[in-house]
Amino acid sequence: MVEDSTIQALPSKEFFISMLVRDIELFDAITDLADNSVEGAMRVRRGKSYRGYEIRVEVDAERFEISDNCGGIPVDLARDYAFRFGRPAKYKGPAPDYGWGQFGVGMKRALFKIGTSFVVKSKTRDSYFEVKVDVAQWKKNPNDWTFRFTTPSEGDGISGKAKIGTTIAVTGIYDSIADDFSLENFRGGLRSRLAERLEQPMSLGLEVRVNGKRLEAKKPKLLQSSVLKPAYRRLSAGKGRKRIETSIYAGITAPDPGNPDTAGWYVYCNGRVVLAADQTNVTGWGSGRGSGVPKYHNQYALFRGYVFFDAILPSLLPWKTTKTGVDENSPQWVVARQQMVEQMAPIITFLNKLDRERNESPDTTLETAISKAQLVQLASVSECQTAIFPVNGRVRARDALARISYQKPRAQVERIKSQLDLDTNPEVGGYTFDYYWKRESPGE
């Protein structure tokens, strides 16, 4: 009896694709495509500036397109790496130092997620290629995991008219995604997300447009003055090409009536934001009693923290494959987080004092100190182990205020309001208290 002892373990394309695309949210998938453009620019730019480079995203219910002038994808990169699922272990391709895309999955994941057919065209100085994929067709052959160029390669077929750069177009957009693409609110959310994640290259000159409208970079800033200094610590680990530099800034921003949603920690890996306005335990909030860092609360809306991890080898950075979070087990992260918690505690204490001053004290020392401080870019912040804050004015015991809270029949309260022409209940309380004090003068 001949037994067939082999077990088929080849993944089915259907399964593979469905698992792949489930892994990532639509905004993040689109950001991944933009990341590839940024990495392209990193490969070809001179110096640190991104001036002159641009990414254009066009999105509507029928079509998704992202195009850039960021140097293009060399055809051998396309052949051996860009269209593979995962980077081959021995690959020594031209990945830029301090790059972003070590995982090799981003582009395919995004394209398979959005629609049923896509075209990738890319021109570099020496090569040009085109790849057209009809996903339904491609799925039909379970054993062939290759793609085909429609126009090869180096030297010949360099389309004279095309500019250097890459264009990716997706059609046959899936229904639910097309529904999202047609909503202005979705496009507004996309703009917001791209501006948030690509803040650094944008601040260095990269132009990003969504449906023709240019995105604005919002540079991180902290308040600073002679009496108010943000914390700034630097750490490093590893040697030579394996070195990782970490910079941690923490402080407060200027009061802005608009938006407490931007409070919290921002984490950058090689300049790419992976966590924005984080208010969760991941970045140290609610670190348990004794740590001095409570759960996030709107009272801390002025808090801003910025952590930068930079490494020549992106694989050493503590980010998740989806670039939407940190790898909490990474030793780099564990060390940084400890520093972050230490830096947060005095800032939380200060914000609590500020809150007390606002609500309970006639003193305005802290409020004034804040209004006199300047918002400065992080480059202007000097190293400072712990944030420094102004101290409350000494409030004499006689001037300290106590809060009285009581209830009285609404009709009576309203009557007094109208008689005395007052607007609020606290004013009624204050007036009636002062009335007694003046008449009866207890003690003084």
Binding site: D179, S182, L183, E184, N185, F186, G188, N259
Partner: protein
Amino acid sequence: MSSHKQINFSIRPAKSIQRKMLCEAFTRLAPFARVSSYSYIGFGGYFFSDFSLVHRTLDIRRMTSIEQETGDIERFEYNRPYKCITVEPGPSGDVLPTLSWRNKAIVWLDYDKRLCDEFLADIRHVCSNAAPGTILVVTVDADSKKLEQPRDALSKIDPKKIPADVKDSDLSGWGLANIYWHIIRNEIHEQASIRGRTLSPSKKLKYRQLFNFHYSDGTKMLTTGGLLHRNSQSDKVDQCDFEELTFVKTDSDAFLIDVPNLTLKEARSLQSQLPRTAKQRLTTPIPHDDVRRFSEVYRYFPTFVEAEI
């Protein structure tokens, strides 16, 4: 001779005209269902003017007034003009989720404040739950004059929902109303889209805008709204023939309710020469522009009565 005095704007003629126009539009809902079977939900306040008009012209008997001044509910109930009105105390955000949405409704959220995230949440709630055939109308204060900074008009709205590239100069005049219109429309579209995600194409919800009013009785206001219906009901919407009404606006173009400053005598005299054909010249010393403005709204002009006291 009081008929020579100009119309008193403190009685808000523009708002009154708008109310009548809205009611006239509501009468066209017949292809969807008997209009009297609709519910009406609004903010009646002390005077319940919209409730009165809706009940009298449409015979709607399920009426709910949401009242945020919860301290004095008895007084509001006392002032109800008809028995079929229920007063529900509390802010709209609290009350709307407690209402039953099974029945088609006419919902008029007549806020007297600037647009904010809380109002957008109310809009979302109605769009998520309303029975197809429901009309949603929203009124907000769109006047940027009294603010310290024109930008303050947008400060209570999630920045992601504000159209890109809005400059301060876009907020003057009726510009703010246009921006609010845009934001409200995007919110309705988004919610209708979300609601339909798991439904078949014929059941998906669509929004047919009917109203985009700019009016002012001293403060610039925006009223916008329309009909929420299933895709498969599009022909019923066409049968309603809303577009026949001149004040119905289905896009960014607004209908400006511009009440001319006329005396009662002038109003009556003009009225007797209306409707006119295009070529007809009216005999009147009144400026041509006022004549034009009057002829656009004359059918809805408040009827004033002189009284001897």
